[in-house]
Amino acid sequence: MAEKVYKSMSFANPHPPFTDGVQKLAAAIGGVGLLLLGLALLNIKQVQNATMLWVSLSLLASGTIIFSARAYLTKSAGIKNDGVWFNNLTNRGLWAWVLGIIITGFYVLLYWFPSLLGLNSDGNTGLVHFFDPLSMALKGEVASQWFVYGTLYTLAILIFGIKFIWKYRHNKYQIVRTISVMFFQLGFAFLIPELLIRLNYPYNDFKNMWPLNYYFFDEWSIKGFLSSGNFGLLMLLFGIAMIFIISPILTYYFGKRWYCSWVCGCGGLAETAGDPFRHLSDKSLKAWQIERWMIHLVLLFAVVMTTGVIFSFLHNNPNGYWMNKGLFVALIAGLCLGTVALFRFIPVFKNGVSKRVNNIISVLGIIIPGIVYINYATGSGNAVFLNFYDLRKTYGFLIGAAFSGVIGVGFYPLMGSRVWCRFGCPMAAILGLQQKFFSRFRITTNGGQCISCGNCSTYCEMGIDVRSYAQKGQNIVRASCVGCGICAAVCPRGVLRLENGSKDIFEKTDDLRTQHIQ
């Protein structure tokens, strides 16, 4: 697993004094905060009160913030990657494995054994109980394991967001973007949903859209919206508008970055808490090939699963709604065949993918509506022969929990911070397709200035070999690019710029500016 270290680079100063006394003190402060959480997990009675919760969270926050202030504010503004590959924690050393195992373990408990965290319908204990006071204050209910998770998640984005802002304080794009993810996490993902519950509305994170929010079209979710009056209906319509109107428009103007590195919570955690691990993403061609298969298969899985889910509950509500099974089947057929036509006849789409991929799209685009139609015509309760409920459950387990949580975050210290976003997120897949084919966004390469040093590729969290384009003088137009802007920041020659323009939208990658002889 560990990279082979180039032998002669036997790090002369293997323990450079990268931490000073204040930082050690800060680590101790944060450590005490963590210890209190540990004691709560063990259900030690003496710490189970609101004061201790506040003390614990404050210590965690102040420890991290003091540590970061010492790390960055004592130095001049600029790129701060000294010693990244020498550090045990950021070079897949022992500490990286320890951290990876702890986070992975936490996710396993969270998803499948919440009772071990103290979740108990007869009255919480342990870690979940520790958060009851905050939960009561916010929404008037005791905490669940998800409330604990949401609080810690938000706290992580906020405190590591501050660290990130200090680290890149010479770069305003990074500052604005980070304030944005901090805002959306705190407001949209954390406070608003809890307040909605307090006001007796269904839990809703407005920015979390399908297919990342894969239960949006579940029967209970739709029913929840429809039974909550006009505001509920508004939330449902907003969710649908996000998918079909707002998101395509924003992606056209700004690329998928408007979501992935400005708004999304998964991206938010990756950009802040995950930042020290961004260079661990695999840049090989092999990894890119695996990525393209995996992410699009997950998207297919999400689409088929959702189709099945909607199909099956439309059966239960044959009257009273404008949407019925027949119309739905027609809609599916229209979408699928439309996609096929797009890739068959529109040059920019046709030329954007290989022949093989185009054939796969055609086959799927015809088979899927065919299957759905057969199921509809034969009066089957399922859309795709499979039981939708099983399909939905499998998706929730494999993709929703195991991939996005356990692997997605647990493997930060080993595989980099965007494993989920890169290999698994169906939302990223959709936005990526649009970004590649129909968006003004690109990363421009500045003439022939690239020196092939490799900083851009190394620090790309999505594992894009940015240099392979930059050294040709070609713009970078990649479906997976989340527009974090770090490649442009770490470039020592000012070669890369994230920008949007409509004039050359279909020939963004034509220029090869280092080609000297025409």
Binding site: A12, N13, P17, G448, Q449, R497
Partner: protein
């Protein structure tokens, strides 16, 4: 046809890639420096822990096989030009039909006493980096002699490991034999702000032995001061790495003399990159330019010549870039350290001394001749078009937003630059375009 390329740096590898694009010739690339091509300019980042050696290699291993570029790790000790044969240090021989010499540079040593002591090194090759790494163990103090690009890189490297470093620079401010005085002063101050001990106007008198054959101190000529140190970096420039060819029939002056087609005096032998010396360089250009970009252009040019499409080498409008600690540097066109006779200069700098723009223009015709930037990124294609088309300085200023290449939300400086021009000349010009990619595309296509 069997083509041999000696050297796997940017020049040699670019030549190999283009020969493969243009032909089916057999290609052998010979180097004893490293198995694979790496970015020489990135050596510093390996030492600083930003990247590993493999991260500095632009192509994955499969690339070479796929493109049928045969990499040979051997040291060429002699070339038999008449029978078209290379002799390896290991004893082997290698025949070729055409030969490309891309030998790179070697660090300058000016005969200082003690220059061959242990722990006295330049920084050019991977082996240099390995030695620097080796001697860094337990190192308490380093001295860097020379104030060029490699000098400041070396200082930054030691600084990143918190090893105190003194820079001994002959000039009165950093790199002012290349940078105009204002810029040189900004960088000098920037170096001092990083707590790097910059000694200006100081020459090296001698490097002193610590009694074991290793460096123990250096002596400064002007002051007679002795600076204790465990490592001396010699970064007073580089010269073509041609020593092993000095006694051959190849025509060598400072470098291997080549004509405009990059041909040497020997039939079927070409020289490119740092080791090549142009017999008749373009006006205003040096005969040897040891720069990444020119090496790459030469590699591409020579590939066309070898593949039956002879091309004259024309490096176009000069450009270069660097990074001094936290301040990036870009230059386009002609910006000499001393303002030439018929040239005027508009110089703007930010209040925090971290950003500056210099626009040089012809005093009478008023056309833009050069752009020098610190801490500001400009778009190369736009600057080149302005310079090539002899655009009037006021048109340049009105459209200065087109050149902006800074990250989004970067603070604006355009107004203040224009104000300075108006103040300096008594004109009243105003901006007429905004920062907009669409406008840039229209401009470049116009």
């Amino acid at each position: 046809m069997k083509i041999a390329i000696i050297g796997n740096g940017i020049s040699g590898i670019t030549a190999a890639r283009w020969i493969r694009k243009l032909s089916d010739h057999s290609i052998d690339v010979i180097s004893s420096e490293s198995d694979y091509f790496f970015s020489r300019t990135a050596l510093m980042y390996i030492y600083m822990g930003h990247m590993r050696l493999k991260d500095t290699q632009p192509y994955e291993e499969y690339f070479w096989e796929k493109n049928r570029i045969n990499l040979i790790n051997e040291h060429v000790s002699r070339i038999d030009f008449e029978s078209k044969k290379l002799e390896f240090k290991s004893g082997g021989e290698h025949a070729y039909d055409k030969l490309i010499l891309a030998l790179g540079s070697a660090s300058n040593k000016f005969g200082w006493p003690g220059q061959d002591l242990k722990a006295v090194h330049g920084l050019y090759s991977l082996q240099d980096l390995e030695l620097m790494e080796k001697y860094s163990e337990g190192l308490e103090k380093a001295v860097v002699v020379g104030g060029g690009l490699i000098g400041i890189e070396m200082a930054e490297m030691f600084h990143s490991r918190k090893i105190p470093v003194t820079m001994l620079v002959r000039e009165s401010s950093y790199w002012n034999n290349v940078l105009p005085q204002d810029e040189a002063e900004i960088i000098s101050q920037h170096i001092l702000d990083h707590n790097i001990d910059l000694r200006l106007g100081g020459n090296l008198e001698a490097i002193l032995d610590d009694g074991t054959g290793k460096v123990g101190a250096v002596k400064v000529k002007e002051t007679g001061e002795r600076i204790e140190c465990g490592f001396v970096g010699l970064t007073a420039g580089v010269h073509p790495n041609v020593a092993f060819l000095k006694d051959s029939i190849l025509e060598i002056d400072k470098g291997i003399v080549v004509d405009e087609y990059l041909k040497t005096n020997m039939e079927d032998v070409y020289a490119i990159g740092d080791c090549a010396q142009l017999a008749s360089p373009n006006p205003g250009r040096r005969s040897i330019e040891a720069v990444w970009y020119t090496g790459r252009m030469m590699g591409e040019t020579v590939a066309h010549s070898i593949c039956n499409n002879p091309q004259k080498y024309d490096p176009g409008i000069w450009f270069n870039s660097a990074k001094f600690l936290d301040i990036e540097y870009q230059v386009y066109g002609d910006v000499p350290p001393e303002l030439p006779e018929a040239t005027q200069s508009l110089f703007w700098k930010s209040e925090d001394n971290q950003h500056s723009i210099r626009l040089n223009y012809h005093a009478i015709n008023k056309n833009l001749t050069g752009v020098n930037l610190l801490g500001i990124r400009f778009r190369q294609e736009v600057c080149e078009k302005w310079i090539r088309e002899k655009t009037h300085i006021e048109d340049v200023l009105k459209d200065i937003c087109l050149a902006d290449f800074n990250p989004e939300f970067f603070r604006t400086y355009e107004q203040s630059l224009l104000q300075q021009y108006n103040h300096q000349t008594g004109q009243g010009i105003e901006l007429r375009s905004k920062r907009s990619l669409n406008q840039v595309i229209s401009f470049l296509k116009s």
